[in-house]
Structures are given as C-alpha cells and as structure tokens.
C-alpha cells in the first residue's frame, strides 16, 4: 500500500499537462477535457437540430406541400426535438457542470472520473444510432418526440434504434448525474458548507437528483413500448387490455421534471452573471435555493397538465391546474430576486449580461404563456396548437439556450485565457434576440387562431405570420455562425489576454485560479473563508 501511494504521488506531480495526440480526448478522465468535449458535442448537435428546424420552417414558408413530403416533415419535427433536448441542451449543461463544479467547490476533479469519460463517450454512439434512422427504410421516427402509442408503434425499422438510443442517452445522463451528486456532496473544499455553495452548484445538485429520479422512468416507458412491439406484452395495446393513455401518464411523469432539468441549471448560470455585472451580491440567495427545491418538488405532481384533453375526473383536472399555477410562486421569487439584484446597481452590459437580461425578460414571457396553458378550460383551445410551440420555445430558446450562451461568454475567457471579440459578441446577441422573437412571437397568434402543430400545411390566412417565423428562423440560424466563429477564435487563443478575475465584479473560487487554469487545479484544497 505504501509503495503504491508513493507511485501515485509521483504520477500526479510529473504529469500536469494532457497527454499529446488524439487519444488524449478518448481516454481522458480530466473534468476540463470532458467539459470541453461535452460543449463541442452540444454545439455540433445544436447545428444538426437547427438544420432540421430550418427544413420545418422552409416547408411552412408557404401553405400547401412545397418542399418535403409530410412523412419527412414529421421525421424532422421528431428528430429536431430529440436532438435539441438530449443532444444540445442537456450535454451543454453537463459540459458546464464538468468545467465549473470542481473549480467552484475547490475539488481536484469529479468524484468518478472514469464514469465521467464513459458518460460522455456513450453520447456519440447514441446519436449515431438515432441519426442513422434517417437512412433506413421507412425513415426516421415520425411520431413526435413524445412517442405516443399506438402511433409510435407504426415506426418502421427505425423503432428499435430509437428505443436503444434513448436508453443510451438515459444511461449517459444518469451516470453524469450520479457523478455530479457524489462530487458536490463529497468533494467540497473544507469550509464550503452547503449554504456557501455557489448557485450554479446548487442548481446542478437539484437537477442531478431530478435526473436520477426520472430518467429511469423514461427508460421503463420506452422499454414497455419495445416489449409491446416485439415481445407480445400489452401495456399500451387496448386489444390486450392495455391503455395508450397510460403511456402518456408515465411519459409525462418523466417529462415534466425533464423540463425543469432543462431550465434549473440556467437559473444557476444567470444567478452568477447578474450579480457580477451589477457589482453587488445576489439578492436573496437562500430564497433562490429554496425556490429551486420547491420547483423541483412541484415538478413531480403536475405532469397531467400536458394531457388535460385525454379526459380525467374534474377533481384531477383542478388539482393539476392549481398545482401547476403554484409553480409560478417560486419562479416569481427567482425573477424578483434577479430584478432586486439589478435595482440601483452599477450595471454594465457586456455580452454575458445581455444574454442574461434577455433570459430574464423572455423566459418570463414563456412562463406567462405557460400559466395560460395551465388553465384547464383555456387549454382545450390551446392544446396541440402553435401556441404551445411558441410557449415551450420561449422557455427553451431565449430561456435555456440564452443562459447557456451567457454562461459560455462569461466563463470562456477563464477557460481559454483570452477575451473573445466583444463587438462580435454583442452583434451576436442583438441579431439572435431580434430573430428569436421574429421566429416565435407570431406563433402565439397563429396558435390562438387555430393552427395545429406538427402539420406540414396550413390554412391560407396564417401565411404572413408563418413567413415572418421562417425569415426569423433563417436569421436566427445564420446568426449562430457568429457564435461558432467567436468560439473557434477563442479556442485558437486569438484575442487579448484575460485577467484571472476576467470581469470586474466576479466572485467565486474559479476566478481565483489563473486564466486559463492549469490542467489539474485544487490538488490541495483551498481554504474557504
């Protein structure tokens, strides 16, 4: 034992840099390397999923069938959602967690570095399986990402590939989540008690528990689909005594916590950025933590608001309606805390702050349309219309995606050691903001007027608003090339040298490290005051 101990020390002291060559990325267990891999993977998937969105929008530029067949249109809506949710947003958050959690809590690395490596490298295989279905007879899955039976059971040869790729994504997320919980609970530097933890760490602790609780339920639901199709079970087949509505209940028991998995880390990110550019501490930090915990708890008891129209007892509809509306209270607490942080502060508007402010403003729009959808009698009109599309895109694009971009701009100089191009960053923000609203705001109106989602054709009177949305989508897509350019320039270390604190008002252990940080940081734990 004593011998191996000295060997280990030796090893640590003399290998402070990464191994050279491509195999570095395959075999790495370093949290910074894996964070980088996750973020690049997410960016690639963001462009893949985005191109599919452009196919959808191009088809909808004119009424009638103009570019693609309806079957292919449905494949695009399905794949766009699966790729954006499981391939772009979730890996981006895990990538940020990998980069930041150990540096924020003063740990040398993640708790389970090999699990971390495995968790990432499952993803390329999962998405290869999923994307390969585009070239199969019968095409890719076209049932919508919610995979409702019996429709999803009509998927052709793609079906088992869809199910197995979702199993792989689930395994990857669960491994990432277990690793994050173990890191946060076991690896904190001495003196870093739970309430001293930065909010991004808190947001990920809660998110990781949500992932551990609901990803297995999704795995169970898709396994039931698989056995219904190939092994003669009848969970969802009416002829065998099953019920397709049961799938919706199980799916949304996963699905609603999932939407908070997609937003809680975003809350964490903007809670770092707003105080930094307001140059004062976050207002009501403890209430932020309790609000996130309350949102996480409520997310388990509101799932049926996704399926009011399948029919349920009045008492159940009322329960799910009121429970859903209750979520507005902790969410409101968070919004008001961010506003109170800005109140009478010396704000400056660098790119990360612009994205964070855009987040607060536009996420609130998405939250309010969510409240409208929670109202049972109104939901019967809104259900499966473009209003729903407008709602969840407002919380996911100027919500989650803006927060991710804000986070990348905020910490990129820390990671690379160079400042990105601020002029281009601001241009990216303004173009993105204008086009994102041009894309999604008209969808509220065409949805209220009755245009259904997931249909490649529409009534003539919706043409103008659809054309606005399509132009917005193309502009949004092209604007992201600016982001790609900025990130590549930073990765090539082109730019002014960044200071260790990067921004004037930053707080936190990660800003006490050099920019860029050494390959191994906090090998001896820091002291937390």
């Amino acid at each position: 034992m004593a011998y191996s101990a000295t060997a280990d020390e030796h090893h640590d002291e003399h290998h402070d840099g990464p191994a050279p060559g491509l195999m570095r990325w395959v075999t790495t267990t370093n949290h910074k390397d894996l964070g980088t891999l996750y973020l690049w993977f997410s960016l690639i998937m963001f462009f893949v999923g985005g191109s599919m969105a452009l196919v959808i929008r191009a088809e909808l530029f004119q009424p009638g069938l103009s570019l693609v067949q309806p079957e292919f249109f449905n494949q695009m809506t399905t794949m766009h959602a699966l790729i954006m949710i499981f391939g772009a947003v979730m890996p981006a958050f895990v990538g940020l967690a990998n980069w930041l959690l150990p540096m924020m809590i003063g740990a040398p690395d993640m708790a389970l570095p090999r699990v971390n490596n495995w968790g990432f490298w499952i993803l390329p295989f999962a998405f290869t399986l999923l994307l390969s279905t585009l070239f199969m007879p019968g095409g890719a899955p076209a049932s919508g990402w919610t995979m409702y039976p019996p429709l999803v059971l009509q998927t052709g040869e793609a079906f088992p590939f869809l199910i197995l790729s979702i199993h792989l994504m689930g395994i990857s997320s669960i491994m990432g989540a277990i690793n994050i919980v173990a890191t946060i609970l076991n690896m904190r530097a001495p003196g870093m008690d739970l309430m001293k933890m930065p909010l991004f760490v808190w947001s990920w602790l809660i998110t990781a528990y949500l992932l551990i609780a609901v990803m297995p339920v999704l795995a169970g639901a898709v396994t039931m689909l698989l056995t219904d199709k190939y092994f003669g079970t009848a969970f969802f087949t009416a002829a065998g005594g099953g019920d397709p509505v049961l799938f919706q209940h199980i799916f949304w028991f996963f699905g609603h916590p999932e939407v908070y998995i997609l937003i809680l880390p975003a809350f964490g990110i903007v809670s770092h950025i707003i105080p930094a550019f307001c140059r004062k501490p976050l207002f009501g930090k403890a209430s932020m933590v309790y609000a996130m915990a309350a949102i996480a708890f409520l997310s388990f008891i509101v799932w049926a608001h996704h399926m009011f129209t399948v029919g349920m007892p009045l008492a159940a509809a009322l329960f799910f309606m009121f429970a859903t509306m209750l979520i507005a209270v902790p969410t409101g607490v968070k919004i008001f805390n961010w506003l109170a942080t800005m109140w009478r502060s010396a704000m400056t508007f660098e790119t990360p702050m612009l994205f964070a402010l855009g987040f607060v403003f536009m996420f609130t729009i998405g939250g309010l349309s969510g409240l409208m959808l929670a109202i049972v009698p109104a939901d019967f009109q809104y259900h499966d219309s473009y209003f729903v599309v407008a709602h969840f895109h407002y919380v996911l694009v100027p919500g989650s995606v803006f927060a991710i971009m804000a986070g990348v701009y905020f910490w990129l100089p820390k990671w690379t050691g160079v400042m990105y191009n601020e002029t281009l960053g601001k241009l990216h923000f303004w173009l993105t903001t204008i086009f994102v609203n041009l894309t999604f705001f008209p969808m509220h109106f065409i949805g209220l007027a009755g245009m259904p989602r997931r249909i490649p054709d529409y009534a003539l009177q919706f043409t103008t608003f659809n054309q606005m949305a399509t132009i917005g989508a193309i502009g949004f897509g092209l604007s992201q090339l600016i982001f790609l350019y900025i990130v590549i320039q930073s990765a090539r270390r082109a730019g002014e040298k960044a200071s260790d604190r990067v921004w004037e008002g930053t707080e936190g252990l990660e800003f006490e490290l050099s920019s860029p940080p050494a390959y191994h940081t906090f090998t001896t734990p820091p002291t937390v005051r």
Binding site: V115, N179, A182, V217, G220, A238, P313
Partner: protein, 198 residues
C-alpha cells in the same frame, strides 16, 4: 504525505458508496415506472374511468323498470385499429330508447384478407359518466372472433340503458374498435407495406 493519501482513499471510498446508493435509487425508480401500471388500474377503478371499467363480460340480467317518460339517443360507431384489413360497420346508426328497456342492434364485420384472422373488439362509451349505465347483455366483444379468409357476418349487440343514467345525459355513444388479435404463429406474417398499398 501518507496521511493525505489515506484521506484521499477515504474520499474515493465515500464516492463509491455514494454512487452505490444513488444506483439503488435508479433501480427503484425504474421499478416505479413499472409500478405505475397497476397503480393506474387502481386509479381508474376508483374514479370509474379508463380501461378498468371496460366490461368484457355480460352484465347480469336484471328486471329494470322501463322509464317511458325519458328518451335517450344511443349512437353506434365502428372503427378499425391501424391498418387492419377488415370491413366493419354498425347496421344501425342511432336508436331512440327508453331507459330500462333492452334492445338489440347489429354490427357487420368482414375479413378482407385471404387468410384467417382473429379480431378482438374493444367497446368504449361516452360521455364517461354514462359508461356505468350502459349494460351489454350480449356482445361480440366478450370473446375473440375468428373470421375465415373473406368471411363476413352479422353480430348482434343486446344492451340496456339503466334508469339511473344521470338526468342531463340524453345522448350516449357506444363505440367499437376492432383490433387484430391473430397470434403470430397462426400463419406467415403478411408484409404490412404491400397490404396497405393494395
């Protein structure tokens, strides 16, 4: 130095223990997904909606007192699941009945395929609150139906709407969907794509 190393080892043991505990939670939640299946049936039974209330056995014959003062319209619909190659229709679209009287109507089904098939019809009643008051005394849905290749037949349904039907319900729909219940081994599988383009 060895002190620090011991600390590190204790920490990595702690990490593994934590990962172990969380993995148990993962397995439990996977099981919970499956536990939702029986829970759902219990929930449906308590609330009286969903498949738990679909009765595939004949209702008990009772002496209901016909309520001649009330007339209820009963509608009949027929549909086929997915691409089932059958013809299926209700011979009567609607019927005016008094609660408490038993009536007979007829469905017609025909197997269009050149192979024997077994079908299972699943009934559904709407509005949901009328479901408990429409009793099927005789129905082709109580057993699986074997249809030889190309065979068609008329099938009676004897039913009664009981007088406890809530006051404000004056229209009840009885819908049947035929599902393909042919066992996989009964004959060679038919290529679904050629079947549907025919």
């Amino acid at each position: 130095m060895s002190d620090e190393h011991r600390q590190q080892e204790a920490r990595s043991r702690g990490n593994l223990r934590m990962a172990g505990k969380l993995s148990v939670l993962v397995v439990v939640m996977f099981g919970f997904g499956y536990a939702l299946v029986p829970l759902y049936d219990v929930f449906c039974e308590i609330t009286g909606i969903g498949p738990g209330t679909v009765d595939l056995v004949a209702a008990e014959e009772q002496e209901w007192v016909a309520d001649e003062s009330r007339t209820v319209t009963v509608e009949f619909t027929a549909s086929l699941n997915q691409r089932m190659p059958w013809e299926f229709r209700a011979e009567t679209r609607t019927m005016e009945v008094h609660p408490g009287e038993s009536h007979v109507m007829t469905y017609y089904a025909r197997n269009l395929r050149e192979q024997d098939m077994i079908g299972q019809a699943i009934p559904s009643v709407s509005p949901a609150r009328a479901a408990a008051h429409l009793h099927k005394l005789e129905c082709f849905c109580f057993v699986e139906q074997l249809f030889e290749a190309g065979q068609g037949r008329y099938m009676p349904v004897r039913f009664v709407v009981d007088p406890d039907l809530p006051e404000h319900v004056d229209r009840v729909t009885l819908a049947y969907t035929f599902f393909d219940a042919t066992p996989a081994g009964m004959h060679a599988p038919v290529d679904v794509d050629t079947a549907s383009t025919r």
